[in-house]
Each structure stands twice: as C-alpha cells, then as structure tokens.
C-alpha cells in the first residue's frame, strides 16, 4: 500500500464522513461545519493530484470566503433546528434500493473500465506559471466574462438583500 493511497483514503474518509454528516445533522451550522471539513479534505485530494493552485483556491475561496458567507447568513437569520417532515413511504421503499443498485452499477462500470489506469502523481505541470499562461492567454475571454458576471452578482446581491423602500420607511 503506497503512501499516496493511504493519504487518498484518509482524505476520502474525511470527505465521505463530512458529506454524510451534512445529511445527518439537523442544525444548519453543523452542516456548514461538516461542509468545511469536506472542502478541506478535497483540497488535500487536489494536492495529491498535483493541482497546487486549485488546492489553494479551494481553501481560500470555498472554505474561506463562501463558507464564511454561509455561516454569516445562518447566524444573521438565527436559523434553528430543522423541522421534521413526513416523507413518503414509497420514496423510501423504492428510492433506497434503486439508489443502491444504481451506485453498485456505476461503481462496477467505473472500476472495470479504468481499474488498471493509474494517476501519475506529481507528474503533471500544475505550476502557477503554466496556469497563468493558460488563464490569461487561452482563456482570456472567459476570464473577462466572469469578471462581468461577478460584477452583476454583486449588484444583484445588494439589490436583493437591501430592504424595500416602502418597508424601510414604515419601520423608521
């Protein structure tokens, strides 16, 4: 058992446990914290795959910025424990076996088709210089378009989250 495989299993176990914990927890803040664990473990997986830049961005943008936004909204809205709702019996009776069968089929196909292939770790040119060359040369137009998207998103968030004029006037 190689060291890479051990590390992969470690990170994989953390991310799988975090994903299951996200489903099992009833309070959104616990779900948010387990999602942060999933994202940190995925950053470790990206490092194993030789993608240092993506791992750093994953930690900074996803686990840092986006999750802080989530936690901020959870605290701002004072979200409480989720209410129980009755699920349908048919969904459980049909859905769980169907999901299991589908999962086993997908796993079988994936393992059979690419079981002998191996990811060469560290052999890939994930250097920030190469990334920058690709990002600012080949993908320059999408990069600029995303900046416009971010600008629109900022304006949309401000407009949506701000109080309506009439309601604000009534309160004050």
């Amino acid at each position: 058992m190689s060291f890479h495989l051990i590390l992969f299993l470690l990170f994989g176990a953390v991310s799988v446990g975090g994903a299951i914990n996200l489903l099992a927890q009833r309070h959104p803040i616990n779900s948010a914290l387990s999602l942060i664990a999933v994202m940190a473990a995925l950053a470790g997986d990206y490092l194993l795959l030789g993608a240092e830049f993506v791992a750093a961005v994953q930690l900074i943008v996803y686990a840092g910025a986006i999750m802080v936004l989530f936690v901020f909204v959870i605290m701002l809205l004072n979200a409480g424990v989720e209410e129980e709702t009755k699920g349908s019996r048919v969904a459980i009776l049909v859905g769980v076996p169907g999901m299991l069968i589908g999962g086993v089929l997908v796993a079988w196909v994936v393992l059979r088709r690419s079981g002998t292939e191996a990811v060469p770790i560290g052999a890939m040119p994930g250097h920030p210089i190469d990334i920058a060359q690709l990002l600012f040369h080949d993908f320059l137009l999408p990069f600029e378009v995303t900046s416009i998207l971010i600008l629109i998103a900022i304006m949309g968030a401000v407009v949506l989250a701000s109080k309506p004029e009439s309601a604000a006037g009534k309160v004050e």
Binding site: F8, V61, L134, L149
Partner: protein, 100 residues
C-alpha cells in the same frame, strides 16, 4: 499511485450526497449547501481527469466553476435573506406561494 476510478467514485459519492441533501433537507440554507457539495464533487472529477490526461485546462475549468459558485452563493444567500424577510421562515415547505 491511486487509480483514477477511486477519485471518480469519491466524486460520484459526493455528488450523490449533494443530490440526496437537496431532496431530503427542508432548511433552505442546507439545501443551498447541498448544491455546493455537488459542485465540489464535480470539481474533484475535473481535477482527476486533468491529472489523468495531463490536460491543464481541467484545472482552469475548476477555477471557473469556483468563480461561478461564488457569484451564485452571493446571489442565492441574498435571495434567502429576502425570502426570510417576507416569510419569516426558512422551511421550504412553507414557501409554496409565488406571491404573498
């Protein structure tokens, strides 16, 4: 050496967890977090394929997915705040009318 299929299975499992959370959760914020979990699962398969085929463009796609996810979460959380302001609830079962 870790086979590519292991990464794909992990990615698929994370995506399936995201779908399950999207369907069974009742809190709108947790549903939104499930969407982020799905995006993370897809990102993992992007990076795994990029490493497998020695194609760096996969990592660039992950970068774009992250940027779009950031924009999406900003707008989505603003929508959640607006919904909470008008309905006083985060339970999606009680948000079943387009107009109050």
């Amino acid at each position: 050496m870790v086979p590519l299929s292991y990464y794909l299975l992990l990615s698929g499992f994370l995506f399936a967890c995201g779908v399950a959370g999207f369907l069974i959760k009742r809190n709108i914020i947790t549903i939104f977090m499930s969407i982020e979990l799905m995006l993370n699962g897809v990102n993992l398969s992007f990076v795994a394929f990029a490493a497998h085929w020695h194609a760096l463009a996969g990592q660039i796609f992950v970068f774009f997915v992250m940027v779009v996810a950031a924009a999406e979460s900003a707008v989505g959380l603003a929508i959640i705040i607006a919904v909470y302001r008008t309905r006083e609830t985060l339970n999606v079962d009680q948000v079943n009318l387009l107009k109050l």
